[in-house]
């Protein structure tokens, strides 16, 4: 078993807690002094830095929301002045103003360390050629993985996303062994490979995939691994925390969150109450090592479960289990919560249908109507209408048994659901709410 920082990664849990407590106390003092935003937020909540003595006092601190970053756009929450910053990343402003994240030298180093530990835990090292097919630029995916991979000594092939046939050519010519991109882009890549008569399994050296930036299911992992012969690992992180930071280890049983850098809790998204280990709720993260833009109890919006059981890999840091969906991605259809990830799980278990789908929600005569479009596959196509109708019914019945609402299933021609190079759009909500 290889570790990047063996002493830290295998630190006894009690020591880790002491370390977190110490860092938390320093952090609270630091943001209170250096951030006008937190100074005011603490005062408004009636909390003083000296009130935070133990880890358990964390719950006294107010939450930070994504909207706080937008409201203080561009740099209202920063704790350092410009001369200490070495980089900006800016997240796409799909739902309002963009958010800006700044990094000091140390912030970049901590980010690289986090990824270096993660990459080592999945066996990526000096001998690997890693093709980074996440977008480069303001998005953190490309540059994040890039420097993380350089840190462990891998050779980076910075292809960014798009130009898929060229990417496949380079994958072959330069013996790419690891790819990092969104899972939907990798499936698209495999589709293009098949079209040009290339087998990722037989014609390339690819053996590992690092997939993230969008929720994906265990079933999708099985499909990717079966179709291409690679091992597929989940990577987690978000620009507000730096970017992609954590992955599963080789046991593929939850994502290790480095406790010396980040403090995690799971809360009930409605009441804000902390939930116990093993309970599913919204993930809340406090950064313990960031300088430019530290965040206190940041409501990241993802729904998950924390697992503090020791991992077979020997690492003592807590794991979050597969992120099921984002609290923001959740649709409420006829009063029932629906995650696109649930739909994906159901479809992945039906061999006759492809992995591309689109959820369309309309409101007709005050009633929510949810429709799922799925692509017909060559294998499933029968020229008897009844066969197609019964396939639609089979999918609709499976969806209903999981979601508890009636869903209209519509098979569409293959290739007609938009493919994405980045995060796949899975929902069209036509309701005027």
């Amino acid at each position: 078993m290889e570790y990047w920082n063996p002493l830290v990664e295998r630190m006894p849990v009690e020591e880790l807690k002491m370390l977190q407590e110490k860092k938390l106390k320093n952090l609270v003092e630091y943001v209170y002094q250096h951030s006008h935003f937190y100074n005011k937020r603490f005062d408004d909540a009636g909390v003083k830095p000296e009130d935070i003595r133990k880890l358990d006092d964390l719950k006294k601190l107010p939450f930070t929301y994504k909207s706080d970053l937008r409201d203080t756009y561009p740099m209202g929450m920063f704790c350092v002045s410009n001369e200490r910053l070495v980089r900006f990343h800016v997240s796409s402003g799909t739902t309002g103003k963009p958010t800006v994240v700044g990094y000091t030298h140390n912030d970049i180093n901590e980010w690289n360390t986090s990824l270096a530990r993660a990459l080592t835990s999945i066996g990526v090292g000096r001998e690997d050629i890693i093709q980074v097919s996440y977008g480069y630029g303001l998005f953190t995916g490309g540059l994040g993985l890039h420097y993380g991979a350089e840190e462990v000594g891998s050779t980076v092939l910075p292809t960014s996303s798009g130009n898929t046939e060229k990417q496949l050519e380079m994958m072959q010519d330069l013996n790419t062994s690891v790819i990092a991109c969104t899972p939907s882009y990798f499936l698209f890549m495999n589709e293009v490979a098949n079209q040009v008569g290339l087998s990722i399994r037989n014609d390339t050296k690819l053996r590992t995939g690092i997939f993230g930036a969008e929720p994906w299911s265990e079933e999708m992992r099985a499909r990717i691994e079966e179709a291409t012969g690679i091992k597929a690992y989940d990577v987690y992180g978000t620009s507000e925390l730096s970017g992609p930071l954590f992955t599963e280890c080789q046991y593929q049983d939850g994502i290790h969150i480095w406790a010396d850098q980040f403090l995690i809790e799971v809360i009930d998204p409605e009441t804000g109450e902390q939930l116990g280990d093993g309970e599913s709720g919204e993930l809340v993260i406090t950064t313990l090592a960031k300088e430019a833009l530290p965040l206190i109890r940041y409501r990241i919006g993802d729904i998950t479960v924390i697992n503090k059981q020791p991992c077979s890999c020997g690492r003592t840091h807590p794991r979050i289990m597969r992120v099921f969906g984002r609290a923001d991605d959740m649709l409420i259809v006829r009063g029932i919560n629906v995650f696109p990830g649930q739909v994906e799980s159901v479809l992945m278990n039906i061999p006759q249908v492809g992995e591309h789908f689109m959820i369309i929600v309309d409101r007709i005569n005050e009633l929510d109507i949810m429709k799922v479009q799925i692509e017909m596959t060559d294998e499933a196509f029968s020229d008897k209408i009844n066969d197609i109708i019964s396939l639609e019914k089979k999918v609709a019945d499976s969806l209903k048994s999981v979601l508890n609402i009636a869903v209209k299933v519509e098979l569409v021609e293959k290739g007609t659901i938009p493919r994405s190079m980045g995060k796949a759009k899975k929902v069209i909500d036509n309701r005027k709410l």
Partner: protein, 145 residues
């Protein structure tokens, strides 16, 4: 017996404008002739079924153009263009418990009526239709129509 089986092109199409024009354009480019043609529609989607002079080429052309397409084995029956022709065929198949999944008919230049059928048991159908002296056409006949 094999040579009496006709390869029909079946194709999945969403029920929206322009799909048929797209198919026709692909055939025109490849010089493929449609001999018989029908659309079965079911709400949002339809299945287009065609008998063409060069089915393997047609399959390739449509597949390359991104369609979901298959070759399906069907039978072509030459009917006397007189009352009672269809009834006789249905009777013969019915006695052997062979189901007709679907059927469509067209009239040739030589003023014969041709019936295309997909059945639940194609080998059985060929045998019983032969025994009843009902004439089945083959791919060579299709090319000459």
């Amino acid at each position: 017996m094999e040579d009496k089986i006709i390869k029909q092109i079946s194709l999945f199409a969403e029920n929206k404008p322009g799909r048929l024009a797209n198919i026709a354009a692909n055939f025109r480019k490849a010089g493929i002739n449609i001999r018989a043609f029908t659309i079965a529609e079911a709400g949002d989607f339809g299945i287009i079924r065609m008998v063409v002079d060069r089915p393997d080429d047609a399959h390739q052309v449509l597949h390359d153009a991104g369609f979901t397409v298959s070759e399906t084995s069907v039978l072509g029956i030459e009917m006397e263009d007189v009352p009672g022709g269809l009834g006789k065929i249905a009777d013969v198949l019915g006695t052997k418990d062979i189901n007709i999944d679907y059927a469509y008919a067209f009239v040739t230049k030589t003023e014969k009526a041709l019936l295309i059928i997909r059945v639940s048991d194609i080998e059985g159908a060929i045998s019983v239709l032969n025994d009843a002296d009902i004439k089945l056409i083959d791919m060579a006949d299709i090319q000459e129509i």
